[in-house]
Amino acid sequence: MADNRILQTALKQLRKSADKAQCRLTETRSTEINADEGVVKLLRTTGNSSLLLQAIKNGRKGTHSINKTNASSVSEAVKAVLSSADSAPADPAHDFAHRPNRRSLVKGPLQPDLDQMHSRLTELLADIRERYPLVRVRAAIVAHVNRHDRLVNSSGVDLTSSTGVYWFMVMFLAKQGTKTSSFNYSGSSLPDLSGRLIDTGMLHLQFQQVQDQLNCGQSSGKFSGDILLAPGCLAHFIDDYSGIFLCDRALISETSLLRDKLGQKVADQDFSLETSPVNKCFCETEWFNSDGFVQKGCRLIDAGVLKHFSLSLYGARKTGRKRSSNVSQFYIVKPGNTNLDAMLSSIKRGLLVLRFSGGTPSVSGDFSGVAKNCYYIENGKIRHPVTETMVAGNLLAMFKNIRSISRERVNSGSWLLPWMLFSGLTISGK
């Protein structure tokens, strides 16, 4: 096989000078049909390859990536990565997976069905026009990605995955006369195109919301209230939480306020968070990682207790902590025992938020931003959509102040999340 020849050649060349070496060749073939402003406009077929070479020499590490696989390019890249390693200071934390492991995975449809992609996209646009006449589709894409990924290293790791997955994305707003709603978007990965795209995720609610938003009210003044986050919106908050408190950078720099909290309660007892890039519920996968390990699920927070940090091999060795069994954003949050309707009914004053436009939280976890595509809720009833409404809070406090978690969950193909209701946020209207 061509990939084996390329990788073994590169590995052999690197091993002549390096103590440890690792090579990864990723080849992707994407087929993508695009609609702009509701009209199918573009068919795009792209090929790419990425050859990632890494070498450790006397504790010094270099990395070089090219997208060519011919012999002369590979030889040049080998020289470049060795030169890069020579330039670096020694750091004993650098390493690759060192247990021999030869495995492979094949998952999903490896070839696209172009006619079906076209018909599903056309059907989605027609469904939107018929059922949500005020919605305008800014862009919609149905795509298929075939990815062949192989990693070998000097310790006998040889991992191969061949995957195929469909995905779609739609970005939209509503328009009536001169009134314009906020835009919103949604996307999911799919194992096949057997169902109507409009029935995916929360699209019906999102389309309805932008239509409603043409007639907004405002939440006046400032108050401490509840926010009910939709699953897609929750994913962004979990991303921020993980980035600021749980990941390599936060632990290596020692800016994480949770750095000494392993085994301690850091969130509400109903909150359990795991990352699981190989879970069968997902059509996407990251079967192995860039350290050369086959990934497994990892429970980061269990019943509110911090169980693991999300650390790579380098992050773990650098900080003297345990390596996470995966480093990914394939989030799974355990469902709660409350129906979404009951959660809404329990809100005395607050917001139902489908999209949040916020700044990157500070290292202390403080955040603020605009609640987009949202409704104002009072005494358990949705009153009206609102605009120009800001929400401020602190991520650590927020996940300690969870009021309820829904039974219902949404699967995007790469995360599985419920609705979550948080209390004690500062909400301020204009």
Partner: protein, 459 residues
């Protein structure tokens, strides 16, 4: 870049066609508290073709660069456009043509820094910061260099060879105050190569020490009061406002979807003292940070005066939208990687300078805020925007007061711009702007400082 004469494929053009050969090179070095955690280089190059048949587009790309692949990519793009044309039957007319040739390749340093020298610069700067800034609990330095080299030919006869280099050094400093970490980052560098911006770690240290002093002030800072206040947005925040909250709403694809700018053509959208432009390559006689002479459709790039004395006066176009809107093309079609199709993108977006001095602007405010450094920002089709502000001061009785902790400001662009009553007399560009819209893109953002009413997040 691997070279190939794209004109080999010209005889095979059957329809409107663009052929592009592109290479993006990147270098990343990252230090956290003195440890080099990233030391990588990437080169990505390839061929792409895009063809147009009666309103349907076909695009294809390959990382292989040779004559055979060139023809294969062109054939595949033709097939893709033909496939959609048969399915969709849009029946649109031919695109407007522009025959323009340009070479825009800045001279690279005669003696570029080696990998060892770059690492030595970074570790040297880190040592200096560690010695000079004793209260820091953490320091993070990240060097990012990108160069985009493109060769383009079109069936209209346009030819382009361009190189866009940019170096950015991100310095992120953290200290603790009463057990709470407080951070402040800054970006140094800009258009060009490392060697043109950074001579030695010592030369950069004064700027970082100033950043450290600002961080000290911020660590003792206050949370601003939530609500609408009279504020001065300094140049970088003015730039992000121009880009995010105005620029995106006038991109022709968003206009067509019904953005707020669609209904404001030739109407007042800002105070008469506000003019705002997307510059192609030169602003007020000086080169812009992201010069574009010919865009990726081979169209001559020209300045787009988006707002002229408060009146909405221009949208941003690619060839097709200019034809659809019956407006002059502006040359805003840009693609990030060889495997990306050109989209309507901004280039260098800024409010034009006014006549006020920043000191007079501060002195004019009895109770408000001076907002200086942005974090990230987002905006909406409605012009509603949100920007993080990572450095600012309160203004009390015409003088700067205490520093501010991180805060978010929001508003609606055209509403805010109508409240602008002072514009400073200097234009400055920020160093490291990227825009994300299906693809990444290097952009320039800048401006003067502006005074107006804005909603401050606060607590």
């Amino acid at each position: 870049m691997i070279d190939l004469d794209l004109r080999h494929a010209s005889p095979d053009f059957k329809h409107y066609t663009e052929l592009r050969l592109q290479e993006n090179k990147e270098t990343r070095l990252s230090l956290i508290n003195g440890s080099l955690i990233s030391n990588s280089r990437t080169a990505k190059s390839g061929l792409s073709a895009r063809t147009y048949i009666n309103g349907s587009w076909g695009f294809a790309s390959s990382p292989v660069i040779d004559k055979r692949t060139l023809r294969a990519v062109l054939k595949e793009a033709d097939f893709n456009a033909g496939y959609l044309n048969r399915k969709v039957k849009l029946g649109k007319p031919e695109l407007p043509c522009c025959r323009k040739k340009a070479v825009d390749v800045p001279e690279a340093p005669k003696k570029p820094c080696s990998a060892t020298e770059l690492v030595a610069f970074m570790t040297g700067l880190d040592h200096l910061i560690s010695d000079s800034c004793p209260k820091l609990s953490s320091r993070s330095l990240r060097l990012y260099f990108i160069s985009m080299e493109k060769k383009l030919i079109t069936s209209c006869g346009s030819e382009l060879h361009s190189l866009l280099p940019r170096i950015s050094l991100y310095v992120d400093l953290t200290m603790e105050h009463k057990g709470e970490p407080v951070s402040l980052y800054n970006v140094y560098g800009g258009y060009g190569f490392f060697e043109q911006h950074f001579t030695s770690p010592e030369a950069l240290l004064p700027a970082v020490e100033k950043q450290y002093q600002s961080l000290e002030q911020k660590s003792r800072g206050i949370h601003p009061r939530a609500g609408v206040h009279t504020c001065i947005l300094d140049a970088e925040l003015g730039g992000i406002l121009a880009h995010e909250a105005v620029g995106h709403t006038v991109e022709s694809d968003l206009v067509r979807s019904g953005s707020v700018a669609a209904d404001r053509w030739r109407q007042p959208v800002a105070s008469p003292i506000v003019s705002l432009a997307d510059f192609a390559h030169t602003a007020l006689g000086r080169p812009c940070p992201v010069p574009v002479h010919i865009d990726d459709e081979g169209m001559a790039a020209r300045d787009a005066m988006i707002i002229e004395n408060g009146i909405l006066s221009s949208y941003l176009h690619d060839k097709e939208s200019a034809m659809d809107f019956n407006m002059p093309p502006t040359g805003n079609a840009r693609a990030f990687e060889y495997s990306d199709e050109p989209l309507v993108r901004m280039r260098n977006t800024a409010i034009l300078p006014g006549k006020d001095r920043i000191s007079d602007m501060i002195a004019s405010i009895d109770d408000g805020y001076y907002l200086i450094r942005p974090g990230n920002g987002q905006a909406d089709a409605t012009g509603e925007f949100m920007f993080a502000v990572t450095m600012g001061y309160e203004i009390k009785k015409g003088a700067l007061g205490r520093a501010l902790k991180d805060v978010t400001v929001s508003g609606v662009a055209f509403d805010f711009l109508k409240t602008v009553d002072m514009v400073s007399d200097e234009l400055s560009w920020e160093c490291g702007g990227f825009c994300s819209k299906k693809q990444l893109m290097i952009v320039g953002m800048g401006g003067p400082a502006v005074r107006g009413l804005i909603n401050v997040g606060g607590r």
